[in-house]
């Protein structure tokens, strides 16, 4: 069993990764809004991107970088998504990459770019290019936490994690940062997630590990059912650790994948906990399904139900809404044999409503973490989806986000 140790530093925790961030003037308040993550050595790279047909210009550029298989840096800004900005937007994304590439003496196709913020507005590209020229020489070993802050939009907290993973020879570190906090219902990826590792791992294996790690983490969360135009997860592996290189599906590969999964799962949970207006983390477990895909479909339908989410916000044990959501998920179910638990309290057993302790249910539903468990009693597969409740705060944040 691989033993993971959490360490400080986020994306600069792995050897050979440097970062820096500053306020270049896109965000109004003076908070950092531009970050660079740089690898001292060429790194293998893998990425997953939004399935939204409306893809932002930086996504199109970064997809080319991932296709190339090698990366040296990521440049990311918050406050403006550079999405639906036409040909000019594509030029702006390339200018971001090229400016950093020139500073570091690498190819523009080794520099991934990412943007997050309002859709349909142009980047202030001159200001960004000027800021990149200041930021590039300033990258340092302690810049990971500042980079996590620079990619925040409506997030209330920076999201950063790093783990040390022992391999057959030596140890590697995997670090990651992420930003949410709305437009979160990823379809292959979530808003922005950058992961670094000093493992030495081939591009194909890195891509395989990333896809395995994304499914139970970023693809199993939702805040509001809206997939963004800019969803991006990029992982860079620079081999700076001098631990055993990973060249095949060895035990070391699975140790690495285990570590990567842990990083993704931790960041995904942080995204949901900090979901726009969220007061509670809700874990939706659907068990007893014939197929995993069925379980996930039902869990996602429950997780995206406004009626379920508002009931959880109000600590109201309205389990009937869970049942109604399950019934419209497009999966064959038999209501007469199902069980539903809200946290530890049985609400429905074999299709029969239970007399439950209202006071106990209320008490459990006012906790910071709530579980909803649905047993279909049809098979042996299951899925868990993480979501948050829907509060007045979500409306407040989103009624005037742009203006």
């Amino acid at each position: 069993m691989t033993e993971l140790t959490e360490v400080q530093g986020g994306v600069t925790a792995p050897a050979g990764f440097l970062a820096s961030a500053l306020h270049c003037g896109i965000k109004k308040a003076g908070d950092p809004d531009l970050a660079i993550i740089y690898s001292e050595k060429p790194a293998t790279v893998a990425g997953v991107f939004t399935m939204n047909l409306v893809k932002a210009a930086p996504v199109l550029h970064s997809q080319k970088v991932v296709e190339g298989g090698v990366a040296r840096a990521i440049v990311a800004n918050s406050g403006c998504a550079n999405a639906v900005t036409g040909e000019q937007g594509k030029l702006d994304a390339e200018t971001m990459a090229r400016t950093a590439a020139t500073c570091f003496g690498v190819s523009p196709y080794e520099v991934a770019v990412a943007s997050t913020g309002t859709i349909g507005q142009r980047l202030p590209i001159d200001r960004i290019a000027g800021a990149i020229k200041k930021l590039a020489p300033a990258v340092n070993r302690h810049g990971g936490e500042q980079a996590a802050r620079a990619i925040m939009t409506t997030d209330t907290l920076p999201k950063s994690v790093a783990v040390r993973v022992p391999l057959s020879r030596g140890k590697i570190v995997i670090g990651g940062i992420a930003k949410g906090a709305g437009m979160i219902c990823p379809d292959l990826a979530t808003m922005l997630v950058f992961i670094t590792t000093d493992a030495s791992i081939e591009t194909q294996l890195l891509s395989r590990a990333l896809n395995a790690a994304v499914q139970p983490s970023f693809n199993s969360i939702t805040v509001d059912g809206d997939s963004s135009t800019n969803d991006t997860v990029i992982v860079m592996a620079n081999g700076a650790s001098n631990a055993a290189p990973i060249n095949d599906l060895s035990e070391d590969y699975f140790a690495f994948q285990f570590g990567l999964q842990h990083v993704c799962a931790r960041l995904a949970e942080m995204l949901v906990r900090d979901g726009e207006g969220a007061t509670k983390l809700v874990r939706i477990h659907v068990v007893g399904a014939v197929e995993k895909a069925d379980a996930q479909k039902i869990a996602k339908t429950i997780a995206n139900s406004l009626l379920v989410k508002t009931a959880i916000f109000g600590a109201d044990a309205n389990w009937g809404r869970v049942m109604a959501a399950a019934g419209r998920a497009g999966v064959e179910i038999n209501p007469d044999i199902m069980d539903i638990h809200l946290s530890a309290v049985a609400m429905l057993k074999a299709g029969t409503p239970q007399n439950f302790d209202e006071a106990l249910a209320k008490k459990l539903l006012t906790q910071k973490e709530v579980d909803i468990t649905v047993d279909l009693h049809m098979g042996n597969d299951s899925a868990t989806v993480l979501t948050c409740d829907l509060s007045y705060g979500y409306i407040k944040i989103n009624a005037s986000y742009r203006t």
Copy 2:
């Protein structure tokens, strides 16, 4: 061109229909919560019901009534949905029907039943049966408006409409009542809609006309994306008008269908206007689609986007959210050729963001009715979906609906 005249009276506007309502004790506040609609003559009947796999007990009974093809009465209660109530719930629904049937001297399978309210709670069936015995002898020509009140849950206003339709010989009247106001994203039907007509029309033709009328009305609205367990639309035609009978796909049939469509469309719009917490009616028009189904899929995705709905609540011209929703609808689109208008203001033309007058956009978005028009420029088909904005009021209503 058939000329429709709106008349007073709702479901008791057509000849030969009587109704009554009272407070039997399910709702807390003393508001009416039980209604009977009765036809003096046997009526042909058609219905569409929820596609949710979790179907309430009254839905199962009423489906049998519709299969029988003839109905005499509808008994409906609010405050309790009699859904997910097991075998006992089915017995309770049958008791509702049988009690009314005995009072009127008809078969229980000529009495449709409907319930709306909290899911998973048993009906107070003894109290309901007692109340039915009082209500049945009290049915009268002016009971339509009271019946509309008795089926309300979170609705703030009763919803009732009636139209007079000239046929080749004589005139008929079609009346309807409906209730919303949450769990509205019908899939073949919406919460509760009862329609009466004194037309003489064969069951098969009635069913055909109803299905045609439901698609652009109740199947083209959404409040919160949640389909209910109790969605029911029932139409009864008793032939009491002595207008020309409708026995084939004649001009009279199409005049009838036109009238029925009008009643359904008016009720559907009332449902959305009175959506839980709604402050605005939003019409989403998707044009230039290859297939109608594509247009409707995109329109529904936009209509259900929390981010779009909160932006409209905040009168924020955040058209990028419309684009992001269109991109995740699962329909092939080309972002580079699309146009988007918010009310009368062009936001995007041929994929290029427009410089627009912010003050004018704000002014138009603060109106009670807002239009969102998306032109895909791919074909000639289109669809319109009605929705409402998402406000603090929705959260307030749903955070403690049950308790």
